[in-house]
Symmetry: C2
Subunit: 199 residues, 2 copies
């Protein structure tokens, strides 16, 4: 074993696992210490002033920042047949680690308004803002029919949510065996046919 000396990171990792699995109240200083393989919970207080501060650091260090839509201007002219599946695949690409993060943040956001604010602004809010701008542009250049893009942006992201929720949190929802890719293609085709400029 490589006797990792980065105690701080070791504690942060363990705290993340515990908070994600049991929530802020459910995870205890003792259980975090055990998960971090510390001999004593007291050591945590050498690196962090208290449980609350530890939690905030975990949150700050783990909240995923959406960079898929960072270089917005490059993407504005992509045809929707290409861009929407790309966004969808980025969504479904959440893996094990991000599922834990999402569980932690969503569960805690339901109880703490500041966490809710932080979550929305760092994730869904950005994607929605980008989508609104993108769809607006696509309407202007005539590739989509005129409509309220605040609504269609929500609608497109929303279409993917039940599939994602089934995969990550509620396996019962996924029992009918629909694959991510099938759902994505179906959703994109409904969305685009529904906003086609002609007809």
């Amino acid at each position: 074993m490589t006797e990792e000396l980065d105690r701080r990171g070791q504690i942060l990792d363990a705290a993340f696992e515990e908070f994600a699995a049991k929530g802020f109240k459910g995870a205890t200083i003792k259980s975090i210490a055990q998960a971090a393989e510390l001999q004593s919970p007291a050591l945590i207080y050498w690196y962090f002033p208290n449980k609350e501060a530890l939690f905030r650091e975990v949150l700050g260090s783990r909240i995923p920042i959406v960079q898929a839509v960072a270089n917005s201007s490059d993407l504005l002219d992509l045809p929707p047949e290409e861009l929407l599946p790309r966004i969808g695949r980025a969504y479904f690409a959440f893996e094990q680690l991000d599922a834990q993060t999402l569980r932690l943040v969503v569960a805690e956001a339901l109880r703490r308004p500041e966490v809710a604010e932080m979550f929305v602004r760092s994730g869904p809010g950005r994607v929605l803002d980008f989508l609104k701008a993108y769809l607006e542009h696509q309407v202007e250049i005539g590739r989509l029919r005129p409509h309220d893009v605040r609504s269609s942006a929500r609608a497109f992201i929303g279409m993917l949510i039940p599939q994602l929720a089934g995969k990550m949190f509620f396996p019962t929802l996924a029992e009918d065996g629909l694959t991510d890719e099938d759902h994505l293609q179906n959703s994109v085709s409904i969305f685009l046919d529904g906003l086609r400029p002609d007809s």
Copy 2:
């Protein structure tokens, strides 16, 4: 004051409020007793064997059973232009009380698989199953183009979710001021244009 004698119900009400606001771990027997205006927390143990049992009774007595789609067969022949907005409005009709229930159930479902199962089967699962049957039927009678109804059912319900989430849990999402009714009409029209048989 009417000196309500239904102590059991009084405790259940208070427990619901506390669990919804603070979660299972965050709510304490003492805080529930205070919310129920009991002189002593001990009284709770006269009516319920322990905190866990109290929680399960709260869940059982409050989980909303979706009855909007109970009489399925009547609705199967309604045209989608009529049925889909009806389902949407039922969704958005969640009011204050149900928001609390939803917060309680979702937050707890993220940690307890049994609660997740219960939640999905009693709510979203039923609506999805009904929608699949309905859409299948509409495809058969030629009012919608052939497609995978597992996917379109998810998609339609999903389209409404960001709006609902903004209203109930994440006010930041709702800052652009889109109204429920506008979003519903927009979503239905995208969905139906996207699944129109002709094209």
